[in-house]
């Protein structure tokens, strides 16, 4: 098997402790490779990073129009939220609007990421625990689609259900490839997920940004999704999360979304450059480090606040339970060499 290069290392004291291999690419709207490292043709599961693509089906089904969905609700459909009260509020309102309840959600439950949310999750007996699931917003959106299609909401996660067929066809449209069952697996929130190459993931985001080779309404809908994500970064995840914080600082030019198992997808909107990253072993911290470092090099003349954030989330220092610095993340030599020329265009 061909192997991806080392992207990041972690040192402890003066010796390297862990290494992280992976691949990333920057692809334009015409599927040209602007920069790439590692095998970008290998299929990966992108988990939550693909939610903005899946959200296109909210428009395709007519749910946005029928339920007069707000930008906040559209963001929750794309979110991997922390389960804090401001997330839960929007989700409960959204559920009410479509005449569904938490009992209809089939995403399952897990301990939420938010600090306050965690305490509520363990102590509150009033709220259904499924609401705290980081994907609950996307699942409400899928219920909305089922409703507008006039389908049973039950079993909306089965790959044969019309909701999933619609999401699949929206995905196929933006990646420009059909997906058969050989790519199919089940995601952590129980919905069908398809293995797609890193390159096509990046292409999809580039095309959603530019509208190239897509039906005209796709660009309009994608623009609303991207704008909403940028407008409400705190609803998308939380202000402590890298993707939320960094988007906020990039003046509507950057969309970025993390996915489980070491994935990031995004787009630089002014250039329509789609970006995709996967760490081979699935390590999320390494993915966040590399994505922050990549963006920092890509956008050279960034303003102070952007740089500050990228330095913060691309933090090299690792500290232990007593607050002592034990080591740091290191970018592997040469992996960003190709970015020099691109960054000049900024």
């Amino acid at each position: 098997m061909d192997k991806n290069p080392i992207l990041a290392k972690v040192s402890r004291g003066n010796w390297v402790e862990n290494i992280y291999r992976g691949a990333f690419c920057i692809i334009d709207e015409d599927n040209n490779v602007i920069a790439s490292v590692g095998n970008i043709e290998k299929e990966i599961f992108s988990h939550s990073a693909i939610k903005p693509i899946q959200a296109l089906s909210l428009f395709g089904s007519g749910a946005v129009e029928k339920f007069s969905l707000t930008d906040e609700e559209i963001v929750l459909a794309c979110s991997s939220h922390y389960g804090e009260y401001y997330h839960i509020e929007v989700i409960e309102e959204f559920l009410k609007k479509i005449d569904c309840s938490a009992f209809d959600l089939e995403c399952g439950e897990h301990i939420p990421y938010g600090k306050q949310a965690k305490e509520e999750y363990f102590s509150s007996t009033q709220k259904s625990k499924v609401l705290y699931c980081n994907s609950s917003g996307k699942h409400v959106a899928m219920l909305a689609i089922a409703k507008v299609l006039g389908e049973e909401t039950k079993n909306y996660l089965k790959s044969a259900h019309r909701v999933q067929k619609l999401i699949k066809s929206c995905t196929e449209m933006v990646i420009g490839k059909s997906l058969d069952d050989s790519y199919l697996a089940i995601d952590n929130c129980s919905m069908p997920t398809y293995a797609i190459s890193l390159r096509l993931h990046a292409l999809a985001f580039a095309r959603m940004s530019s509208g190239k080779d897509l039906p005209s309404n796709f660009k309009k809908n994608a623009t609303r999704i991207f704008d909403a994500m940028i407008k409400y970064p705190n609803l998308l995840r939380d202000d402590r999360a890298m993707d939320s914080a960094i988007m906020e600082a990039f003046n509507e030019n950057l969309v970025i979304k993390a996915g489980n198992s070491g994935v990031f997808l995004g787009v630089l909107r002014d250039k329509n450059y789609g970006i995709a990253l996967k760490i081979d072993c699935g390590n999320l911290n390494a993915a966040q480090f590399i994505m922050s470092q990549l963006l920092r090099r890509l956008i050279k003349n960034n303003c102070e606040i952007q740089d500050k954030l990228l330095v913060l989330f691309g933090a090299e220092t690792i500290i232990n339970a007593s607050g002592i610095e034990t080591g740091k993340y290191i970018v592997a030599d040469g992996i960003f060499d190709e970015l020099g020329e691109i960054s000049l265009r900024y």
């Binding site: 402790e17 363990f122 129980s190 198992s261 390590n283 232990n320």
Partner: protein, 339 residues
């Protein structure tokens, strides 16, 4: 740098989601390699996997004698515990014995690692405490060493403190080589940790199991430490944890200890073999499936032992609704080593 082979694979459906590379070796007490894969000469940080080696300082300092430490005390000093009731109690008993307080521990505050203890921690809104730190037992041990040496206990976690100097000497004797300040870091619990070749740690465990190359005292102390550990497998880590479950099932013939960032060290006490494993990317689950398969292949397990091992040899991956999404398995490269 040449890449280590893939040892573990995480499948989602029928497709590969994540891969984990690494190296391992199985050695005899005289250093002869029985099995090995990957770059076993590369220096790795053993982290918590060598607590049983570090515990030798309890004997060398005279702390075992001075405080009449029993097997439970020694086991908790070798533990990376879950912070469950039995662990917190054992650490408290140890601290009381040596006249120290939780505040003397320099391991840092932590939320309990174990699921039950953690849920209780959040539900009861307990304050964070150093006693919940998974290394608190080892740190109680180090306080005991300081007291027995008659030195100031404060600062015992620093590399220049007499306690850490003694711990370093103990490790060096067992692995048969000097530890270098050029491959030194601070561990999660703030004590110094030294990287050494993966082979050195397998050799250390083989020597502690066989006595080969060790002084008579170290042979005796090693035997006591291993016996205390295998006799108290659930003090060493916790319920439903691989090293605890396997040590319990092997009923005294397996010493096994996890270390942070994808490390395992251990010994087959009856066969007097030592082994060590490091996953390059530090993934714990990958380390678990790999070590279970390695032990399955080298231990000639009984039916009971085999059943315990099989629980960890592959891992069904389930999602939030407990639906099977994939599987964590070892690679064909790993299996081929034993065929």
């Amino acid at each position: 740098m040449g890449a280590n082979p893939i040892l573990a694979i995480n499948f989602r459906g029928r497709r590969i989601e994540n891969i984990h590379r690494g190296a391992f070796c199985v050695l005899e007490g005289d250093g002869r390699a029985i099995f090995s894969v990957g770059d076993i000469n590369r220096a790795v940080f053993p982290r918590s996997s060598i607590k049983a080696v570090q515990a030798l300082a309890l004997f060398k300092s005279g702390a075992v004698e001075k405080f009449s430490l029993n097997n439970k005390d020694i086991a908790i000093a070798c533990s990376s515990h879950d912070g469950d009731k039995q662990h917190v109690e054992a650490v408290q008993v140890f601290l009381d014995k040596i006249g120290c307080l939780i505040d003397d521990l320099e391991c840092g505050e932590q939320v309990p690692v174990g699921r039950a203890a953690r849920n209780e921690y959040f539900a009861l809104k307990k304050p964070a405490s150093a006693i919940f730190n998974n290394c608190s037992g080892k740190h109680a041990g180090m306080l005991a060493v300081a007291k027995a040496l008659g030195v100031e206990i404060k600062g015992y976690s620093k590399a220049r403190h007499a306690v850490q100097k003694l711990v370093k000497i103990c490790i060096e004797e067992v692995i048969g080589q000097k530890l270098s300040d050029e491959k030194c870091g601070v561990d999660g619990c703030s004590i110094p940790t030294y990287a050494a070749p993966l082979t050195a740690f397998a050799l250390g465990f083989a020597r502690m199991a066989s006595g080969v190359g060790l002084s008579v005292e170290t042979q005796r102390d090693s035997e006591i430490i291993f016996n205390a550990s295998v006799a108290n497998p659930y003090l060493i880590r916790g319920e439903n944890k691989l090293d605890s479950d396997l040590m319990a099932a092997f009923n005294g013939r397996l010493m096994l200890k996890i270390g942070a960032d994808g490390v395992f060290c251990g010994a087959l006490l009856d066969k007097k073999l030592g082994f060590s494993l490091k996953i390059d990317d530090g993934d714990i689950k990958a380390a678990e499936v790999a070590i279970a398969n390695i032990i399955l292949s080298i231990a000639k397990p009984s039916e009971k032992e085999k059943q315990a091992l099989l629980r960890y040899c592959s891992n069904e991956l389930k999602n939030w609704r407990k639906i099977k999404t994939g599987e964590f398995v070892v690679s064909d490269e790993l299996k081929a080593v034993f065929s």
